[in-house]
Symmetry: D2
Subunit: 139 residues, 4 copies
């Protein structure tokens, strides 16, 4: 059976939008992931700051990698995100996903997104649903 | 003073990520917007469905356009999103943002994202914060 | 098999906190409920307005009645609530729960809480999890 | 000017519903509070577990005490809560509210509710809005 690291490496190879974002996987363990990315000009909104969808997507990838590292195909059900601080072009941001709870069918995760100065730029609370299907993504 | 339609047209011209998404503005009124986009291959995740960040970003643009159409620079504070149904490449999706409440400093919006079959694919509830600054984006 | 109306009537008989709140069931259908209650002095917080927990609990009962009316024991997994307008002692408030989506294991509901003037005082978005157990509460 | 401890003590004296809940304030600091309560029979729902509104209300009081300890009247704007584990009659539960961010007008808090075994029973993420009014509750 694949390790969490192998699963996340393979997911990243298949995940075209995470590739577009330029996500780098720093760490992947059971129920945990840590990611890094650089914010580019094409990710900005009308006010010249990162579009909320960029920060959300980055946290959501961390969430997906942490959930699926457990070996079952798992999908996001419900997410709440707060944006305490703007993200700018050139910022390097980090997402850290941690599992807080797990039942047979669901999981609860918190994902913190911080900039290089350690400032919290997004707080993401996610509930996922575990399907019965094993994650076999060509490994 | 600019009309909601003029504000949203100008925001769309400046919003590089909404351009990358291929968002088309169907309607913009005070506290309301309706958008359309086509889901492309490069927007998919490891399971071959649209990345949650894509659907979120689409709804978030509808939210931003509806909030800012009122003339003050307004930013997302807190959002909750549910994903009742997957989105696939080739899907054309529609986002409709409606204001449910407004105070002097905050606003509450609901954004529904549906596919062409009229199936709800995301439900987004957003709270925004209105700054004191007038929206003057080069008009 | 019990009807939604019978299920909700029986749930209300067993639900001691909903009784304390003084909830009255106005309507119960499959995936839907409408409730009414009067806000009392003992429900207020330090600012003399209804405690957020009161408004939440009222909406949560509407959610539970609507979810469980389908016949399987169903529990709240994740909820987001916004409080656009304060609730005061003496207010009569109404909660209306509607199902927006249903899968084999989960459901998505929106609950609107309004006062007598029709003003929205809370907007509640809830995701529930359906267990395999039939609801047999002594009927 | 009143200390956070004095503010929270006074709020608790005025907060009738927190009194009904039997909340005990264990600690109050600037942007922080820790509370304790015992779950009673009259707080249960139709399934014989604590009504979601009880757990929410307990966390919401911790949120309100932490927010208002800073000296300005502050109200809950938007909250997301997850319920990873049921709460039962006889359980003693603890809520700990921590400020994660503060702007001139808003604040972001996380509140963890745990039972005596240290199990997380609710995770509450709250955004509050600070009014301009000083908190003068008869002190």
């Amino acid at each position: 059976m694949a390790t969490p690291q192998e699963i996340v490496t393979r997911m990243m190879e298949l995940d075209k939008f995470s590739q577009w974002l330029g996500i780098e996987v720093l760490e992947a363990r059971s129920g945990y992931s840590k990611l890094k990315m650089l914010v580019r000009d094409e990710m900005l909104n009308a006010f010249g700051i990162a579009h909320g969808g960029i920060t959300f997507a980055f946290a959501d990838s961390a969430f997906a990698f942490a959930c699926n590292s457990l070996g079952k195909i798992t999908v996001a059900l419900d997410v709440s995100i707060s944006f305490p601080h703007p993200v700018r072009a050139g910022d390097i941001i980090y997402a850290e996903a941690q599992q807080l709870n797990e039942t047979s069918k669901t999981g609860l995760y918190i994902i913190e997104v911080k900039n290089e100065a350690g400032k919290l730029v997004a707080l993401f609370k996610g509930t996922c649903f575990k399907t019965n299907r094993d994650l076999e993504i060509g490994m």
